[in-house]
Each structure stands twice: as C-alpha cells, then as structure tokens.
Amino acid sequence: YSLLVSELLAHLRTSTDAPLRASCRAVSQPGMAILPSTTVDVVEGCRLPVLRKNQENEDEWPLAEILSVKEIPGRKLYYVHYIDFNKRLDEWVTPDRLDMKKLQFPKKEAKTPTKNGLPGSRPSSPESEVVRVAGAGPQHTPSRPPQPQAQQKSIPTKTSLPDFQNGTARRPMPNQPGRKRKQPPNCGGTDEDSQDSSDGIPSTPRMTGSLVSDRSHDDIVTRMKNIDCIELGRHRLKPWYFSPYPQELTTLPILYLCEFCLKYLKSLKCLQRHLTKCNLRHPPGNEIYRKGTISFFEIDGRKNKTYSQNLCLLAKCFLDHKTLYYDTDPFLFYVMTEYDSKGFHIVGYFSKEKESTEDYNVACILTLPPYQRRGYGKLLIEFSYELSKVEGKTGTPEKPLSDLGLLSYRSYWSQTILEILMDLKPDNGERPQITINDISEITSVKKEDVISTLQYLNLINYYKGQYILTLSEDIVEGHERAMQKRHLRIDSKCLHFTPKDWSKRGKW
C-alpha cells in the first residue's frame, strides 16, 4: 500500500513536467493510439517503424524507439533504437525515414510497476493513471512485439522515486528492464545499499571486474553513442556505444587518436603536432609474444595509467557492458599488434584482472572493427588461454558476454575441444575416452565452459546407461573446414611470460 502511495506521489510530482508530454498523453487515449497525422510531435519513448538498409542493402522497416530528438538548423533528427537489434545499430535518422502512420506513444506499464521498477518512467498525471489501466489492452498493436516482460529482472520496489532531479526530465528508456531511477546523491541510506545493485537503488558498480551486468548506470546519456567517428591510424571507426571521452570532444565530426599512444585530439592539426612529440611506435609495454608480424604487449594498468585509460576509452566505443567507472589499476592489458614498417599497429586487446576471485582470465576483449572477422578475435582468445596455461589455471571470460563475444568464444571452445577429441586415438583397440576435467586441464578452459560447449555442439548423449560423446559427420566436416581457414595460431614457444603473484605485491 505504501508503495502505491509513493507511486502516486511520484506521478503527482512528475505531472508538472513538460507540457508537451501532456499533449502527447492527451492523444494517447484509448482508441487513439495510432495517429492519423504527422503534425503531432514525435517524442522520446515513441515507437514506430524506421527505414534501414539490411546487409543485402534491402529496405527494411523494423520497429524502432525514439531515444532522443535534436534540432539542428533546418530539421529535426531522431535517435532511434531498433527493437531487438543490438544497440550498436542505433543511429540518428531524418524524419523522412520515420513511418509516422504507425507511431505508438509511450506505453503505460502500470500493471507491474513493482516488477520492472519503472512506475514513473513515463511521466503521467493522475488522470492518465486511469488511462493506463483502462488502455493497457488496446495499446498493444499487432505490429508491436510483446514486451519481454518475462525476461525482465525482478526488481524490488524501493524505486518509486521520480527521475526528474537535476532539473531535466531524464527519461529512462522503455524496455530497459533493470533500469533504475537515479537517486538523489544525498538520499539517506546509501551506505546500506551501496555495493548491492540488485535492490534497485542505483549504486556504484562492483569494484572487481570491468563489466557491468546490471544496467543501473544506464541512462539516456550512456544509451546513446556520443562520438561520431574516430580516426585511428589508417582507419576511420564508427563507434558502437557511448564512451566517456571529454564532453567537449563529442561534438566533433571526427575524433583523432594517435595510433600508438591512443591520445585523443580534436583536430588533424593537433594530431600532427602531437606526432612531432610522440615517439611511440608500439604500445608502451613489454612485448611478451612475437611471431611473424603479430606481437603482444603487456601493460600494467597501474604503471601506465594514461595509456590504459586511453585504451579503455577507445574500447568502450565498441563494448556495451564495459564500465569505466573505476580506475585501471587492478588490470593488465594485453595489446595485440600487427607490425608493418610504420610500427606496431593495434589490432585488438584484452584486459585481465591481476587477481581474479572468480577465475576470470579475461575482463574485456576486443578486436577493433577494421580487423574483425579475420581470425584475430580467436587469436586473442587463444592467447588468453595460453597465459592461463602458463599460470596453471583454468579461466573463463568475465560476464556478460556480448553477442559477438559469445559467438567468438563458442567458436574457439568448439574448435579447441573438437581438436582434442578428434586427435584422440584408440588405445589398445579400446575406444578413446576423456573426462571433462581432462579437457579443462589441457585447454585451461573452465569446466563449465567445456560442458556448455559440448552441449551446444550436441556431443553429449546418454547411451546404454552412460554418457558418451558422439561426433557426427557434419560436426567433423565443419570442424575440418573451419580449421583449414584458421591460419592464425598462437605459438606457445614464442610466449615469454612469467606470471606474477600479485597478491604479494601489495595492492596492485
């Protein structure tokens, strides 16, 4: 009951918000959800089909949500997120790409405010409360995919605070389960609730690891890409996600990065000037691996803060769940480079906690877009397991994985395990056999990952009272094909790496 009251209170307070929204709400009465005219303003939270080209360069009209609207002289631009597409495809679109005929206004989700923690997410007045309850059904248009309610994390109900502090009405996004409202910093009781993000109170991220799995810090700012383009060496990269580069640089058409020290510069002139002073031609760390043109450099996040931070800022552009909340001190960065006559060019990297309490051998891992889909990602993963082998540990990447991360890891695990299974020869005429622990030990892949891979490949079968591994023809063929394409491999003989016992060195 108290919850209801506070919610009501929240509504009362938020109802004083922008008059624009009030008008929106007025038209979102039952039966008027689909608007016949385009004269009405498209505001944040609206959904509508938006034109985009798919990989075959065909027109598609996926449903999208308006995250932000900005006005530049002469026209309006809308930042859209395509529903069920990864955020990296979010973009600014011109009004002509919007299908205004199918515009849906922000949906009221009053029924389960306690479940998704978003009772006040759509500012509403008391009267719209009624609307919400009454109009919940009709608002579901067939074109609209059902809200993934079932997948939403269950969130306790401490979160009935409105989100209109700081003067601006920062609107949390719909369909952002787990998103929490900002709490005024001085709100009492933060001590109790800090470190625990599952209770719905926004808090600081956990101290360990470098990925955020909950979206408590995901607000409209971090939801949107802020850098248009990054020039790095020979490449121009289109960032996929938000990255906290200095805010004054986010308005630039191109952000220039020094290819070797990764310093960010506002103009080509500045980069030119910088290059007269920067004499780095490789990442500023120790080269611990070199074979052919591929090298790995180890950088200590505590000893080389500037580079580590610059690397993280760049990486954040392509990693959604990466957090830069805390400093880089407890991490090591392994930067993979490719050599040419100009120097050692960064291809990708992974970071790793100096001491992991959860068997993580990788925190963040990234192949820069220009190098993607060429086997470098697998090489990075392979290298990370080579390090674990030297350390005599099994390891697993920190979670959550991204879509690309999952595909890459699954692919690596599959190939690695299949390689072992296919190499096993019959022993004295007996059928070859192996334990999961053996596989884990040989590959340094954590046991759970071995099992999930075997399962994913559908190798585990129960046959005549025992578990067996079965290799089907298409698995074997597929594996052989894949291995033929896999030219880049780590040669453990070229690795010059001595693990350090970080626990003995004070704190990082």
């Binding site: 800090s194 000037r273 090298s295 769940h321 050599y339 050692f344």
Partner: protein
C-alpha cells in the same frame, strides 16, 4: 528404461566419456529424447540481448551450416581503412628489432607539453613570427604551463610572468590569446581531459566521469569500525600535516630573519669599520639602551638576535632568552636527544658563570632553535663524533628521556656553607670539605671531599671558594716538610674553627692555619717519612686512622704497621674528639681545640652499626687505601695493588679487582669535579654526625663486634 533413472545421474566431470562417431551408433537416435538430462548451461549473455535478432540468426545459421555465412553475420557499423594521408602523418619507418621490446619503467616521459597546437594557434604563431621567432613547441609549452597552473582559476598575468620565462611582448601576446581562447573554450581546459570525480559524490552518476579511484570503502560493510578508525587516523594525519606546515612556515620565517640579521650584522660591522670603532665603544654605547628593554614581541627573531648580539659582544644573554623559547610550544618534542649531547661541549668553553634558571626543556629548545643554522654555530659539533670523543666512553653522561635536569646552580656551589653560617647552622658542617693535595701532580687542589664512586673509584669533589686563588700557590712541598712528624700520616686533618675560610685571604694566613691544625689538609704522605718502612716507593702502610676498624683485624691477624698500643691511644683520642665535637654541636659556637681525623670518626661510626651495615662501610672505606696509594704512586708506574692484601687486602677482594682498571682514570676523577654532584655529597654529613654521637656511647663494644665483621667480610 524410464526417464527418471537417467535424470538421476548427473554428468560427472571426472568420469571418462567414451568418444563415438555417429556412424558407429546407428541406434543413437533412439536415445536423443533423453539428452535433456544434461542441464542447460547459461550462455553468459544478458538475457534481453540473447534474443536479439541478428544473434539468433547467426546462431541458427551456424548450427545449420556449421560455418558462418557472409550474410548471416551480425552487422556492425562500418569502418573505413583508407586514410590517404596516413604516410604523411606518421613519418619515418620502424625496423623490427630482434629483441622483444622491454619498456624501462621511467624512460617514457620526456616532459613534452601535453597541449597540442591547433590551426587557430597556428595563425597566431604566424602573426607573431613576423616580429619574432617562436617555435610551435615553445608556444605549446607556454600554453601547457598556463593550463596546468589554472586548476580552479585562470592564472593572472603576473603569475604567468613568473610561470613563463619569456620575453614580455611574447608573453603578453600569448597570455591574452590564451585568456580569450579559454573563455571561448567549451571544455574546462584547453587540454581535453577526462572528467575527474568529485569527492563529494556528486559525480557518482555522471556518465562522463571515468576512472574513479577505488578508495571507496570496499570493506565498509564488513568492518565499519575499521573505517571509523581510519577516518580518525586521517583526521589526525591532517592535523599533524597542518602542524608541519605551520612549523615549516615558522622555520621559513626564522631563516629569513636570520638572513636579515646576517646582513644587518654585516652592515654593522661595515659601518663600524668605516667609523673605526675597533674597540666596540661606539657599539656598546649604541646598544646599551637597547639592552635595557628586552624585546618580547617577535620571539624567533629575538633569539636569533641573541646569538648575533652575543657574538658581537653586544647584548646580555639572559632576560629574554627563555621567554622566547617558551613561546615555541610546538617544538616541544623536536629532537631532544640529539640536541642534548650537543649541550655539554657548549657549556664547557662557554659562559660557565652565567646563570641559567631555565629548566631543561627550555634548554633543549634553545639548541633546537639554532639547529638548522649549524653554519652559524661553529661551536656545536655534531652529536656523533661528540659521543665518540667523550673521554668517559661508555660512562659518558647521557640524558634520559623523561628526566628533568636542572641547570647547575652556581650561586649555590660557589657559596659554600660557611658563606652562610646562618644556613649551615652547625660550624662542623664545614668539615665536609678539606684542603687536599695530590701527589701527582704535586699540587694542592683546594677544598675537596673524597668519596667512593662507581667501581670503587675514589672521587674528589672539589669545591670552589674564595681561597682558590690563594690555594693555587700552595706548593705541596711547602707543607710536607713543615709538618710535625707525629702528624706525618699521609692525610692530616687540619681544622680551624675560628677563622672562617673566607677570611683567610692570604697564603701565609692559610699556611699558618694549616700548621696550627685549624684547617684539615689531606696530602700524600711524603716518601721519606714512611714509618712502617714497607715498600721502597714510600707506599704508605695502611693508614691506621683512615681505616681503623679494618686495621684492628689485620693487625690481629699478624700483619700491619700499627701496634696495639697505638690503637688504644687512638681509641682514646677518638673518644675525646667525639666528646669535643658533641659539645661543640650542642653549644653551637664552642671552639674545640683539636680534632682527630675525619677517618677516625668514620671509624667509630662503623662500630656502632649493625654488622651488615658495618660490612658495607668496611667495603666502602677500605677500598680507599689502595686508591689513595695508587693516586700517590700513579706517577711511579708501580702497581701496588698486589701488595695491599697485607693490610686491607683480605677483606676487600672486590675493591681490589676494580682498582687496577680505574687507575688510568684516577687522576682525572680526582680533579674533575662535577658540580652537579656537589649537593648530593654534602648530604650524608649530618647523618654521619649523628652516627658519631652514637659511636661515643658504644665505643666499648667495639672489640666484640669487629670479629663478626671480618668474618662476614670474608
């Protein structure tokens, strides 16, 4: 087969799994339905992302085709790799070295400016270059410094001048340009920087704040007490740091004043030189009025002033000295120990007659105060060599922490009790000092008192008196021959009740006093007058009077140079003397005609004591003869201790063992009088008198008691 039985068995990671090819198992498909027995593993992805369209498409494509299809991959925003000016931008080539790169820990930064010039700056530079030459790096360095110096506020032009050592015109031009540019700048700084967290927590949710320090209490929840404690520690630390800052500021002030004073002194000296004031007349004339009004206002400077004035023979030292020191409370615990060792050498050459009523603490501070200016205090050696050179070696006097030391009070030491008869109360008290002469060097050391120090060493506590000047002239030879034969024992007490020492102003008076036995005078026995005839070096046989009690027994055991009759005579004389003394004590002024030696009195005292105490006394007193003999014979280089057992030896094994060791230092001890010990020594006297009175009544018992003593001593 029921499904249940399959489900019961979990996948065992430690159990070997046989590997089959599908073709080997034609009946496998029958079992497919039970594959669900293996629990589904999580993908490790965020749930809502797992369902994303492109991922699902890619996953299903892979499971169908067992490889990636070009059109089934997850689309990503495009990247171009066709920067045409790349080669012009990144100049030079790098040949791959054979060795792996190894970064030197500190070899990276060569202090290049972080600021990078933009094209706007370039136009300015081009304009400026028409008038003067300014390189881009020079400009960048200037802007870099200006930026880094302006954390909260922009530096002013005056600050900029200090910051940049540049030509005025250039500086002005760059500064103005910088100010303009910075005002138009959108960011907080011309060097784009990542937003830093603010400690108040207001930036906790700022998306642009990155790389926060991990200092936030990780363990707070587990251990709040610990957190509280560290908070308090931090507070304390802060307090102490601010105190340090204060101290440093004061030091700075002091050093500045010092320098000023040095310059002033220099100036004074120069002026004096120009004036021809070589005798200091003019200076003293000028400084005299100053001395009368002590300056309290600026403590530090005053103390420093002291130093200088003192050296140049100007102002008196005291008066405001301690005042200034006491103001320095924060210095309370600053290096007391080190300063301390420094003190002593300072005292010796310096102003011995100066009064210092300042207590120890202040004393310490005094030297603390000059500590940093050692160059201005050449007298003070550093503490380490000081300790090494100390002749006392391990016995050197060291101050103890927490001990309160008083500065020597010279008006008490110099004022002997007979200077204040009203205080002394008893005339006899003056007996505690006697005229004493040493055999080597043969001279009279003036008034002294003998006592046994550590390890059985004999210490002579000297007292200064008005007689000192006169006594110096005394040649030990003068009286050694002139003394009556019967008093030729090596220590002859002389006494004068009538004449106050202070009135004996001339040497002749003194001599007559001595000869008339009005003064006690202890001197080494003359070599030729060796009554016992023992030892050709004129070693005195056991001084019977000195250690009478002891002597009784040694004589009884068949050795010794004193007869029973002599002893009896002595006993009688002793008794008589005691009576006289008593009478004298009671009547306050009555002049006893004659006194036997002080040792005699001590002797009687011994008899009156309990056996244990007696033994103690024996040890004390009998330890002396060897010493006195060695004192007298130190010059001859003969070790007499081997023979002393014939007299007092058997009783005194302990003292014997120690004496040889102390021989070399012996004279030093005898002559070096520590004024600090003076009071202490004086104290036992009244009690000894009391004992003496008791002795008179118990004289008869002597023979009975002594055997017990001897046995116990053994």
């Amino acid at each position: 087969m029921s499904k249940l039985s399959f489900r019961a068995r979990a996948l065992d990671a430690a159990k070997p799994l046989p590997i089959y090819r599908n073709k080997d198992l034609p009946d496998l498909n029958d079992c497919v339905s039970i594959n669900r027995a293996v629990p589904q593993m999580p993908t490790g992805m965020e749930k809502e992302e797992e369902s994303e369209h492109h991922l699902q498409r890619a996953i299903s494509a892979q499971s169908v085709f067992r490889e990636k299809k070009e059109n089934m991959v997850i689309p990503v925003p495009e990247a171009e790799s066709n920067i045409t000016y790349y080669d012009r931008l990144y100049k030079g080539e790098l040949r791959i070295p054979k060795q792996l790169f190894h970064i030197q820990p500190l070899g990276l930064d060569n202090e290049q400016p972080d600021y990078d010039m933009d094209s706007e700056d370039e136009t300015l530079l081009n304009r400026l270059n028409r008038k003067m030459e300014i390189k881009p790096i020079q400009f960048e360095t200037m802007v870099d410094r200006l930026e880094k110096a302006s954390t909260n506020q922009m530096v002013t032009i005056t600050e900029a001048k200090l910051l940049l050592n540049e030509d005025d015109y250039l500086l002005k031009a760059v500064y103005d340009y910088w100010v303009r540019k910075r005002k138009n700048c959108r960011g907080p700084s011309l060097i784009p920087l990542i937003k830093l967290e603010k400690r108040d927590g207001s930036t906790n949710n700022d998306a642009y704040v990155a790389f926060r320090r991990r200092t936030e209490k990780m363990q707070t929840r587990k251990n709040r007490k610990n957190d509280e404690a560290s908070y308090e520690k931090t507070l304390k630390l802060r307090r102490e740091f601010s105190r340090t800052v204060t101290i440093l500021e004061m030091i700075k002030r002091r050093e500045k004043s010092k320098r000023e004073l040095l310059h002033l002194t220099l100036e004074v000296v120069e002026k004096r030189y120009q004036m021809g004031d070589f005798t200091g007349e003019v200076l003293s004339e000028v400084t005299a009025p100053l001395a009368e009004k002590p300056v309290y206002t600026v403590p530090i400077t005053v103390t420093n002033g002291n130093r200088h004035n003192h050296k140049s023979g100007g102002l008196p030292y005291h008066g405001y000295h301690h005042v200034s020191v006491k103001d320095e409370d924060p210095f309370d615990f600053v290096r007391p120990k080190k300063k301390y060792t420094r003190r002593e050498p300072l005292c010796r050459p310096g102003r011995p007659a100066k009064r210092q009523h300042i207590v120890n603490k202040a004393d310490i501070k005094q030297y603390d105060f000059h500590s940093s200016g050692e160059e201005d205090y050449p007298l003070s050696p550093s503490s380490e060599p000081d300790e090494e050179n100390d002749p006392d070696g391990t016995f050197a006097f060291r101050r103890k922490a927490g001990c309160h030391y008083l500065a020597p009070c010279l008006d008490q030491t110099s004022g002997l009790l007979w200077d204040h008869p009203e205080l002394a109360g008893l005339d006899a008290l003056r007996h505690r000092q006697s005229l004493t002469a040493l055999s080597v060097p043969q001279r009279c050391v003036g008034l002294a008192r003998r006592r046994v120090g550590r390890g059985g060493r004999v210490l002579l506590d000297r007292a200064s008196s008005d007689l000192d000047g006169v006594l110096k002239q005394l040649d030990s030879g003068v009286f050694s021959s002139s003394f009556p034969k019967d008093l030729s024992d090596h220590q002859v007490p002389t006494q004068n009740h009538r004449t106050m020492p202070g009135s004996a102003s001339s040497l002749t008076d003194l001599l007559s006093n001595i000869q008339a036995l009005r003064w006690r005078f202890f001197r080494p026995r003359s070599t030729q007058g060796d009554a016992s005839g023992e030892g050709r070096t004129g070693r005195p046989s056991m001084d019977n009077r000195l250690s009478g009690g002891l002597f009784v027994h040694t004589k009884n055991s068949g050795s010794g140079g004193i007869t029973e009759e002599q002893y009896q005579v002595h006993q009688q004389a002793l008794a008589q003397m005691q009576k006289q003394q008593l009478a004298q004590l009671q009547l306050k002024a009555p002049p006893p005609q004659q006194h036997f030696s002080l040792p005699e009195r001590q002797n009687t005292r011994v008899h009156s004591l309990s056996p244990l105490t007696q033994m103690h006394f024996h040890l004390m007193w009998t330890s002396r003869p060897p010493h006195s003999t060695s004192t007298s014979q130190g010059g001859t280089g003969l070790d007499r201790s081997g023979r002393t057992p014939s007299s007092g030896g058997p009783l005194l094994p302990a003292s014997h063992s120690t004496t040889p060791q102390s021989l070399p230092n012996h004279r030093g001890h005898g002559s070096a009088v520590s004024p600090a010990h003076h009071h202490h020594n004086a104290r036992p006297s009244p009690s000894s008198l009391k004992l003496a009175t008791m002795a008179t009544s118990s004289l008869d018992r002597v023979p009975k008691v002594t055997p017990a003593i001897s046995s116990m001593a053994r």
